[in-house]
């Protein structure tokens, strides 16, 4: 495991049954509660009995070997898939039967493992799509260029630049999103997601393809985002330095089931996790 430079030093406390959240969030309603969540694809249980609670300002990590079902969990939370078992509660509201858009309006935003930007639109326009439900005017106002159009467009523009500033990307505002370098595309996805004013931000492998320097920067930014926006963040990541460095609660998934939950220290010491990652040690080898 790579050298861990920074460690979140949060005391985690149980809130109900086995769920834990940071101590500072203990008296606030959790952002996300996944209860016995599961989905089957043609008889195969991709995710089974998944339970997770995330505190209001928690940075949580979801890790596990490839194919463990991490992205599927994201898809269940964001309602890309309708779970076949269990429930997802966002800010205490059951999302049963909701679609992606409704879930988004409840305050979930995400990035994607395989980047999904609006390639043919500019960077600013991408962020403005994130602002779609924040700064509004109707179609006719737009078609007829009524005063509301100019006012709201200006607001959108200013807000978009503000958001881009988080990653110092204002200068790229007019570039076509599809032509950005890889790292910038990943950062843009985060900005776009933040624009929707989420209470829970899901990051799917935000550090994939980044160099160590970029990763470190990202790590700082993730913490900064949480502090600035006071939101919860759940991230999937293979880069353990990032996960261990920034995540307060960590949940380990293997074959669709949770095999361990806890703080970074607890997870690192957990033999089941080590086994899942390194494979079962053969007897006699040790």
């Amino acid at each position: 495991m790579t050298q861990v430079k920074r460690r979140a030093n949060t005391k985690m406390v149980p809130v109900q049954s086995d769920a834990i959240v940071p101590e500072r969030d203990a008296d606030k309603a959790p952002v996300l509660e996944a209860r016995h969540l599961g989905i089957e694809f043609g008889g195969l249980k991709a995710v089974d009995d998944f339970n997770l609670t995330i505190g209001k300002t928690e940075i949580a990590g979801l890790i596990g070997p490839n194919g463990a079902g991490k992205t599927t969990v994201f898809n269940l939370i964001t309602k890309v898939y309708e779970p076949t078992m269990g429930a997802v509660l966002i800010n205490g509201r059951d999302t049963h039967g909701m679609n992606i858009v409704q879930a988004s309006k409840l305050g979930i935003a995400r990035t994607f493992q395989n980047i999904r930007l609006f390639d043919q639109m500019t960077v600013e326009e991408n962020v403005r799509i994130g602002l779609h439900n924040q700064i509004k005017y109707n179609m006719f106002t737009g078609m007829l260029r009524l005063p509301g159009y100019w006012k709201q467009e200006k607001k959108q523009h200013e807000r978009a630049l503000e958001l881009l500033h988080i990653f110092d990307m204002e200068k790229l505002a007019d570039e076509q999103a599809g032509s950005l370098p890889y790292g910038a595309q990943r950062r843009l996805e985060i900005v776009r997601a933040l624009a929707t004013k989420p209470s829970l931000l899901l990051l799917d492998e935000p550090a994939a393809g980044m160099n160590p320097h970029e990763t470190e920067e990202l790590m700082e930014n993730i913490a900064k985002i949480r502090d600035q926006f006071q939101i919860a963040i759940l991230l999937i990541e293979h880069d353990m330095s990032l996960v261990m460095g920034v995540c307060e609660g960590i949940c380990v998934l293997n074959f669709g089931r949770i095999i361990a939950k806890g703080t970074a220290d607890e997870i690192q010491a957990n033999p089941v996790v080590i086994e899942a990652y390194l494979g079962k040690k053969k007897e006699g080898q040790a």
Partner: protein, 292 residues
């Protein structure tokens, strides 16, 4: 009795649609393009067979083989010249190219064979009528249905058993991966067009055996209907094309016979829409789940 008669008419029409749809669906499955010119390749096949029979005095079997040979060459040429350069292009560009190809073939046919319709001469295919009580069944119907079954089984076996067939399935699943596995994608697609076009020639002869007037536009409407049939059955699926074609034919005839001849086509298309709304990938098509 009348019902049976209509059913047979529907099967007869449907089997024609099916045989054209097979060509559509094969090309779609592997090259992932709507080959709008397929109907016109059928027309060319029919003209070649017509020339063979009427002008060159060839025996029917030889005329059909000649048509198949010409269409095969034509299909491969079209693919190589017009479609191959667009392998990486957006599907819309390929669609427009195919439409351009369709216009081109029609106009070349107009120049060669003129605007006057030809009447496809009778051959062994449609020369006899079987009587079953009061029912009259043309031998063309029987032969078309048989040909359909043979072709469907043949294609299914071909794609399942032969090396080239397996290569086709690979290319259809994932072109990039197939290329990495050492499959020559261009060659595989060429072979697909060759087979599809040879089938088009057979379809052309069978089409004109049942409906003998032959014009440069002969292929367009059956082409569109067969395309509809292929989508109906689930485009890319060989049994789906067969099922879609036959059902479409039966629906069309029943719609005309029991509802209204005026609305026959409207009924066919309405049924297609309803089916697609219930089963968005057609009757036997595999649902595609977008990976997130």
């Amino acid at each position: 009795m009348i019902f049976l008669d209509n059913l047979i008419n529907g099967l007869s029409l449907g089997s024609i649609y099916a045989i054209i749809a097979l060509g559509y669906t094969m090309v779609y499955g592997i090259a992932k393009m709507l080959n709008f010119a397929h109907g016109d390749v059928i027309m060319v096949g029919a003209y070649i067979a017509f020339c063979g029979l009427q002008y060159w005095g060839l025996p029917p079997v030889i005329a059909i083989l000649a048509a198949m040979a010409v269409c095969t060459v034509l299909g491969v040429t079209i693919e190589g010249l017009a479609y191959r350069p667009l392998r990486q292009a957006a599907s819309l560009a390929v669609l427009i190219t195919a439409i351009g190809m369709s216009y081109l073939l029609q106009n070349i046919a107009l120049m060669i064979w003129g605007a006057n319709p030809k009447f496809f001469p009778p051959t062994f295919i449609n020369s006899t009528t079987f009587k079953l009580g009061q029912l009259n069944i043309s031998s063309a119907t029987v032969i078309t249905i048989l040909a359909n079954i043979v072709i469907m089984v043949g294609l299914t076996l071909f794609t399942a058993k032969t090396k080239m067939g397996k290569a086709m399935r690979c290319v259809s699943e994932d072109r990039g991966a197939a290329e990495l596995m050492g499959i020559n994608v261009n060659r595989t697609i060429s072979v697909t067009f060759a087979i599809g076009s040879a089938l088009a020639a057979i379809a052309g002869v069978l089409l004109c055996s049942s409906y003998p007037t032959l014009q440069p536009t002969t292929g367009s409407m059956p082409g569109i209907k067969a395309f509809t049939a292929a989508v109906f059955g689930g485009i890319g699926s060989i049994p789906g094309a067969m099922l879609g074609g036959v059902l479409l034919g039966v629906i069309e005839i029943f719609g005309k016979a029991y509802i209204s001849t005026e609305l026959g086509d409207a009924i066919v298309f309405a049924v297609l829409i309803v089916v697609l709304l219930v089963k968005p990938s057609g009757l036997l098509g595999k649902p595609v789940r977008e990976k997130v």
